[in-house]
């Protein structure tokens, strides 16, 4: 879950990292008064979650209050990567002498946090790593042994930095390492971290990503920053259909019937589980089918949950048929899913036999499940029909 720049900076400020004075503004008048309060040249930056602000012209410098107001008006409407600006950050402009890069993330192979540092900040770090490998250091550190500043010092020193700069950078980088672990982050980045002409250091821009699973453990911080539970902060904002899907999943705590992602096709999918859904979605597309949605059922959901998910998918305009498919199930009961989807069709005013293009869920309680499907005239198959072929049968019924 990505933070906006102003939220990242609020977290940095809480930890006493050096930052320029700034204000979040939502109108030209506010931009004007922010300029006056800060007093002096400022930079205005669009507050979006996606990158590429500079390229899009959504970062501008202003030397007086009128210019700040005018820039606000021009920056706010700029859409970046399909995303509208939430607000604009007005920050004191700093005379920069040199830029540094520091980021901490997880290395899934080493299964440890990795600290990446460079004395060539401000530009694309991947590029620096390729062209100037001696100016980028990568340092893994422990997640259980006590953290100590020498790790930051070694990482900085490895790029050739020494003298006063080394001693001033070390506590900043060390603090970021602590922030990374303390808040269950998946990314803590400062780029650029700047040395100003007067020799002091300052955070110019920062990125924070918090692990979605850890949100519950950091409620106090999220409340403080005003980040509500409904903000998923995925690559794109959720559609109404997806929000309704999340509500279906929250109906009760039994199993999963959710993780709905909307697509613009006409074949509704009631599929599962994690890996099975990916496999089946590919299969439908390979057969030339157009999925109306992605979703996951698993962990033995209640009849009610399977029913509500079915109703939601059938409520989508243009969806006349659904395919109900899973891999061979272990802990999900076939009969419970069968009952749920049949009920969902009936309550949507549709005939299950015509609506359910195929039912392919083999495994626990399959005989009981198939009995229900026979009663309603629904086409079903067991494990002798592959996931791929089952998807093919469903797609064939649409053409």
């Amino acid at each position: 879950m990505r933070f906006y720049e102003y939220e990242s900076k609020a977290l940095f400020r809480k930890h006493r990292l050096p930052l320029g004075e700034s204000r979040v503004v939502r109108s030209a008048d506010e931009a004007r008064s922010a300029f006056e309060a800060i007093g002096g040249p400022v930079v205005l930056k669009s507050q979006v979650l996606s990158g590429g602000r500079m390229k899009a012209g959504a970062v501008k410098f202003a030397d007086d209050a009128d210019e700040a107001a005018a820039h606000f008006e021009s920056i706010l409407p700029i859409v970046i990567g399909g995303e509208s600006a939430r607000s604009v950050l007005v920050e004191k402009k700093s005379p920069v002498a040199q830029e540094y890069f520091v980021a901490i993330t997880w290395d899934g192979r080493a299964k440890r946090p990795v600290l990446v540092f460079s004395d060539m900040g401000g530009i694309d770090i991947e590029e620096v790593a390729e062209t100037h490998p001696d100016h980028v250091s990568k340092t893994h550190f422990s997640s259980i042994l006590p953290l100590s500043p020498y790790i930051a010092k070694e990482a900085i020193g490895a790029t050739g930095v020494s003298g006063t700069a080394l001693n001033k950078l070390t506590p900043v980088v060390f603090e970021l390492m602590k922030i990374f672990l303390d808040y269950d982050l998946t990314l803590a980045e400062i780029n650029p971290l700047a040395r100003l002409e007067d020799g002091s250091f300052i955070v110019l821009d920062g990125h924070i990503d918090m692990e979605a699973e850890a949100r519950g453990g950091h409620k106090a911080l999220l409340d403080e920053l005003g980040i509500g539970e409904e903000e998923t902060r995925q690559a794109r904002p959720p559609t109404d259909f997806e929000i309704a899907g999340a509500r279906v999943n929250a109906v009760d705590h039994r199993g999963v019937a959710g993780n709905v992602v909307e697509f613009d096709g006409n074949l509704g999918l009631v599929i599962g589980a994690g890996g099975g859904s990916l496999t089946l979605f590919d299969a439908v597309r390979k057969h030339g089918g157009k999925p109306a949605n992605y979703c996951e059922i698993g962990g033995n959901p209640s009849v009610n949950k399977a029913k509500e998910l079915t109703k939601l998918i059938l409520s989508k305009p243009g969806v006349e048929k659904i395919a109900v498919m899973m891999n061979v199930v272990s802990n999900t009961r076939v009969d419970i899913v069968a009952r749920g989807v049949v009920k969902g069709c009936i309550e949507s005013g549709k005939d299950p036999a015509k609506t359910i293009a195929i039912f392919r869920i083999p495994g626990a309680w399959e005989d009981e499940g198939f009995k229900i499907l026979r009663k309603y005239g629904v086409e079903y198959c067991d494990r002798s029909v592959s996931m791929y072929d089952a998807a093919g049968r469903a797609v064939a019924k649409l053409s």
Partner: protein, 302 residues
């Protein structure tokens, strides 16, 4: 032979009185597992299908002697503590069933395990099965369903999806290919044991003649496997199935498991398939192609 577990592997279940844990305890016992005890703090003195419940792992070890393994099925908030408890009581094989554990805690558990010379499978997995020997975890479901899908044989299976572990085993069984050991390794971004880390075990197991894996977008695990195979001149032919090909065009969106997200080029299925094929891994487009590919590779002798 098999890897990780055998008929006589003695293990415990932590969180044994929870709904899921009760089910898996019954299913494992019916499949022949040797479960010597269970832990739920404050519930000492009860029993679950004849398995005595204790407050602490220490109490089981004191009464029944050292045990080899533990299946951990406790809520995410308490998982790290339960795993630390198992590790500090000398347990060497820990299967973590629980999902939704933040990466930091997973990393901490894995790091302590490596300091103690122990192995973690999972989190967010269904466990391990050596067909006709024993199973540890929910893999395969009820014993009757498990016996239908899994048969003893020569194929080692590793899968990032618990459900697809059974789908693949069932497909292999139908084609007359039994399995030595199947491991549901877990779907998170950081897991206790990756494909490449299990390879030396399969390599050393005389029963295993080939490997089938289920893989997904996200992470570097497939690249790590490809490197391992190249560097170690593995005797085992490997056939992989790659799911989630549609995700290549959907950067930053999370589908399926927590570890399944395309952030950079290396996370895409296209890139993973390229790397695996370069290392000599056969990549199947459909699950039902796996048995034929395995048979072909076995006939070719590698």
């Amino acid at each position: 032979m098999s890897i990780l577990i055998r008929k006589d592997t003695r293990f415990i279940v932590q969180g044994i009185t929870g709904r899921e844990a009760v089910n898996l305890t019954r299913e494992n016992l019916e499949y022949g597992a040797k479960i010597v005890g269970g832990v739920t703090p404050g519930r000492a003195g009860r029993d679950i299908y004849g398995v005595p419940v204790y407050d602490c792992v220490r109490d089981i070890v004191k009464e029944h002697g050292q045990v080899e393994g533990s299946v951990v099925s406790v809520p995410p908030k308490f998982t790290k503590d339960a795993v630390f408890e198992a590790l500090e009581n000398g347990i060497e094989l820990i299967v973590i069933v629980t999902e939704n554990i933040p990466r930091r805690e997973v990393a901490q558990m894995v790091e302590l395990a490596s300091l103690r010379g122990a192995r973690i499978i999972g989190p967010n997995c269904l466990g391990i099965i050596s067909p006709d020997e024993a199973k540890m975890g929910g893999v395969g479901g009820p014993a009757a369903n498990t016996r239908q899908a899994y048969k003893k044989g020569n194929i080692g299976v590793m899968s990032r999806s618990g459900g697809m572990t059974t789908e693949i085993a069932s497909t292999l069984t139908a084609a007359g290919l039994g399995q030595s050991t199947c491991v549901s390794i877990g779907g998170d971004a950081i897991i206790g044991t990756t494909y490449a880390e299990l390879m030396p075990l399969f390599e050393a197991d005389s029963e295993t003649q080939a490997i089938a894996i289920y893989s997904e977008p996200g992470g570097r695990m497939e690249a790590e496997l490809a490197e391992w195979i190249t560097e170690n001149d593995s005797r085992l032919p490997v056939v992989a199935f790659m799911a989630g090909r549609f995700m290549d065009e959907m950067k930053g969106m999370r589908f399926g498991h927590a570890g399944t997200i395309v952030e950079g080029k290396e996370d895409t299925t296209t890139e993973k398939i390229k790397r695996m094929e370069a290392a000599g891994i056969s990549v199947a487009e459909r699950i039902e192609e796996i048995p034929d590919l395995l048979k072909k590779r076995l006939e070719e002798g590698k």
